[in-house]
């Protein structure tokens, strides 16, 4: 399962990085005479309603998906670390307050959060990143908090404090390296969720604006014209399936390998 996951992930990353080389078609150039062509040698996945090559659009859509995954995961990780360590290491009142805020954030179903936010800021890639960060931050912060709390009374931490180490050094030099392991596994298992949120928001028209290709918007176009031709819808869904399955298999194998105790809460 892990090997399959790794293969799928590498395919997605490779496709996204070398999109221009792998397909000579321009993903946003119109060629309306060639609309709805089925897959063939000329167009590996066929063409959409405006004649654009679907394979090229899928490859370029991969760039968006991976970019969003990278940016929002790093921001979520950074935010989760800061808030989690503050909650775990700081005074009780700060802990209670942060837990309350994080639980309140978690009580929104993700799609509702996305819809409410986009109503206010308008659809854009930035909105997608914001929604993803808000959706994944609470779980990271909770894990960091739990780990920080348990390490707070560890002997090496207590001795560092006794020797006069400032808070920043204790957190950055002693606690952080010990909590980063499980956190990275959590992050790798969250990537499919991030890809799903981005694709979902683009599907609803809340993400990237046309004509920029995103897997979700390709799927949406396919859905709109599902009676004319099934191929755009199939082409839109396929990369999402490949990416989510790949990252999930990879993440599960990594977790089983490094920390079987870390059973994911759904």
């Amino acid at each position: 399962m892990g090997a399959l996951g790794l293969a799928l992930v590498l395919a997605v990353v490779f496709g996204a990085l070398f999109a221009d080389v792998l397909s000579h078609y321009n993903p946003i150039k119109l060629a309306v005479r060639d609309r709805f062509l089925p897959p063939g040698f000329e167009h590996l996945l066929g063409t959409d309603q405006l004649g654009r090559d679907l394979f090229a659009r899928v490859l370029h859509g991969g760039r968006i998906a991976l970019w969003v995954a990278l940016v929002s995961t790093s921001m979520g990780l950074a935010g989760g670390l800061v808030l989690g360590m503050a909650a775990g290491y700081g005074p009780r009142w700060l802990d209670s307050l942060l837990i309350l805020l994080l639980d309140a954030l978690r009580s929104f179903p993700t799609v509702m959060l996305a819809l409410a936010l986009v109503t206010l800021v308008g659809p854009s890639l930035g909105a997608v990143v914001l929604v993803v960060v808000l959706a994944i931050l609470p779980s990271y912060a909770r894990v960091v908090r739990a780990q920080t709390l348990s390490l707070k009374s560890a002997e090496f931490v207590l001795s560092a404090r006794a020797l006069g180490a400032p808070v920043t050094r204790v957190l950055g030099f002693h606690i952080l390296p010990n909590i980063i392991g499980p956190l990275l596994i959590l992050v790798s298992m969250d990537i499919p969720v991030v890809i799903t949120i981005e694709a979902g928001m683009s599907f609803l028209g809340l993400g990237v604006r046309p004509p920029t290709p995103s897997w979700g918007s390709i799927l949406n176009d396919g859905f709109a014209f599902i009676r004319e031709s099934p191929w755009p819808a199939i082409a839109g869904g396929l990369p999402i399936i490949v990416a989510t399955l790949g990252f999930t298999f990879l993440g599960e194998t990594l977790r089983d390998e490094f920390d079987p105790k870390l059973r994911r809460e759904p």
């Binding site: 309140a104 799609v111 509702m112 206010l120 979902g200 799927l219 099934p230 999402i240 759904p266």
Partner: protein, 314 residues
């Protein structure tokens, strides 16, 4: 138990209140002018000013929050911009459809996931167990809207076995159930995977216990042991998890309603976002979030009732 129930309920109320405060404050925190976004680029400055006054956006945040809470407590969620009806009425009309979709999704996931998990636990290590494991992970990974569109493509458009749009005729239960099959399958399929895994894990734990071995020693059949004794205990974690699952299914329901053109709160919110019907969006988000908090509360209380050890955790 009562003390735990009261504390947990109080916590739920506080969390809902904080969540609503966050929702209102979003308007102020997010950069940009909400009036401009909501009215669109063609609005004149006078219209924007009037809109701000009408929505109460010119007041300080604290006053806005106080007014909002005052209105929510009396059941007033604002007025629908397009139809001039109370938002609560608009949302309440659409809610039953979404609830039916989620309920059916739960039925699917229980009907498919629990037996799958049981079977995998009993035949542990076999090929079927490994296949079931792979399948479970796969349906958890793939997003529900992709499942929805592919099932629409295969079972409706290509094969014609199920209807493509709508919720069926009013009052005709059979027709409505028929229209419910594919959307609820799309909503519930991801949860089949979760339930299968949880049931398998807790079944494995229970099947190793002493009283199960005793029952086997007494000569009870495997079927009786599994379904009459082990399953009852193994099912407890699934109840807890179900509360969170409903939150997932609410998100899934939005997509399913759009893909299958069904009426419901999801479609309502989506249409309102597109038409910038801000009161309906906020009102519907309030209702669904409240519903979600209620479900997780119910799940936690049920878990605490079934397993007294949970009550220490507050």
């Amino acid at each position: 138990m009562l003390a735990y129930a009261l504390k947990r309920t109080g916590l739920a109320v506080i969390i809902t209140a904080v969540a609503l405060i966050m929702l209102i404050s979003m308007i102020q925190i997010i950069p940009g002018d909400p009036a401009a976004v909501l009215l669109g680029p063609l609005a004149s400055p006078t219209m924007r000013a009037h809109f701000r006054v009408e929505m109460g956006l010119d007041q300080p945040v604290v006053i806005q929050i106080a007014r909002f809470f005052g209105r929510v407590v009396t059941g007033d969620l604002g007025t629908d911009v397009l139809t001039n009806r109370p938002v609560l009425t608009t949302v309440a009309e659409q809610l039953p459809f979404t609830l039916a979709l989620i309920a059916m999704g739960i039925v699917w996931s229980a009907a498919l996931g629990v037996p799958m998990g049981c079977y995998a636990a009993i035949h542990r290590g076999s090929l079927i167990d490994r296949l079931a494991g792979l399948l479970s992970v796969s349906v958890i990974a793939v997003p529900s809207f992709v499942i929805a569109i592919y099932s629409l493509l295969i079972f409706s458009v290509a094969l014609g076995w199920f209807p493509t749009i709508g919720a069926g005729e009013n009052g005709h239960l059979g027709d409505q159930l028929y229209h419910l099959v594919l959307p609820s399958l799309a909503v519930g399929l991801g949860w089949v995977g979760y339930l299968a895994r949880i049931v398998r894990a807790s079944m494995l734990e229970v099947l190793g216990e002493n009283h199960i071995r005793m029952a086997r020693a007494f000569g009870l059949s495997e079927a009786t042991i599994t379904y009459k004794y082990a399953l009852k205990i193994a099912i407890i974690p699934t109840v807890v998890v179900l509360g969170i699952g409903i939150g997932n299914m609410i998100s899934g329901a939005v997509f399913a309603e759009i893909v299958f053109a069904r009426p419901g709160v999801g479609k309502l919110i989506y249409d309102s976002v597109v038409t910038r019907n801000y009161p309906v969006v906020m009102g519907a988000v309030v209702v669904t979030t409240g519903f979600y908090v209620l479900c997780t509360l119910a799940a936690d209380l049920t878990a605490a009732w079934l397993d007294p050890r949970v009550r220490q955790n507050l």
